[in-house]
């Protein structure tokens, strides 16, 4: 019982309802040209099959403040377009981030009534407290911004055609 709760504490679950088809949401999450349009505006590359590479590349602004070319890496575990994607996820911003190692992110897209989908991000952050504080964090205008901020921006982009902070 004790260990069960301890394990659960490292999970972060974020849910959002977006008025878009599962295919559009899937593309927004996995197609590089979409991933630069919301959130941190960095290019995400997925090789969408088990064992495939996952990389996020720093944008120009990130490179100008000294971040490495690849800021996040991981591996695809499951890819079932347009409903479910599981991949590992590691920050490479700093040596401390890198030392925390890989965490696990699960994306689920479930169609609801009247054209909405529920998008759920479940992030298992076991052993990664530094990353956990970033992903639970708020947007601070200086690069910080966790899942809630990214998902809110994604919803605005898909529903209005424009992201929040342009």
């Amino acid at each position: 019982m004790q260990s069960l709760e301890k394990e659960a504490m490292t999970l972060q679950i974020h849910e959002i309802y977006i008025k878009a088809t599962p295919e559009v949401i899937w593309d927004a999450l996995t197609a590089p040209e979409w991933t630069v349009k919301y959130g941190h505006r960095a290019l995400h590359e997925f090789q969408l099959s088990p064992g495939g590479k996952y990389r996020v590349k720093a944008n120009q602004q990130m490179r100008s403040i000294g971040l490495p070319e690849v800021i996040i890496d991981g591996e695809v575990i499951e890819a079932h377009p347009p409903r479910r994607l599981v991949h590992t996820f590691r920050f490479l911003f700093s040596a401390a981030n890198q030392a925390e190692g890989f965490t696990r992110v699960t994306w689920e897209i479930e169609p609801q009534q009247s054209g909405f989908c529920r998008l759920t991000v479940t992030h298992d952050l076991a052993g990664a407290p530094i990353m956990a504080s970033s992903t639970a964090g708020k947007y601070n205008g200086q690069g910080g911004g966790g899942w809630a901020w990214i998902l809110s921006d994604l919803k605005t982009l898909l529903e209005t055609g424009k992201p929040l902070a342009d």
Partner: protein, 114 residues
Amino acid sequence: MFNEDQVFKALADTSRRFLLDLLFRRDGQTLTALESELAMSRFGVMKHLRVLEEAGLVVTRREGREKLHFLNAVPIRLIHDRWIDKYTERQVAALVDLKSSLESKKCSPSRKKP
């Protein structure tokens, strides 16, 4: 579905805000754990959790025999982006306007000339 009225209503209660704070401090708690922090019946806590869940502020996951409650901050973020940002931005814009008018050594608000 995201319903602003439901979110505001869910937030308009001290006990429910306290439950959110508990989950913020420690995510993924059981009803029993949450109940021990409130001077309220188990049924009362369940009712509040249901309101939070219906508003999307709490999501639950079953782990074996336990039902764990997690904070979902996304609806609060949406309200922030829709309501808070908008008004604070205006305040910031007004301050910027004041600053530039003071710096241009005029005591009247800056006016755009065609």
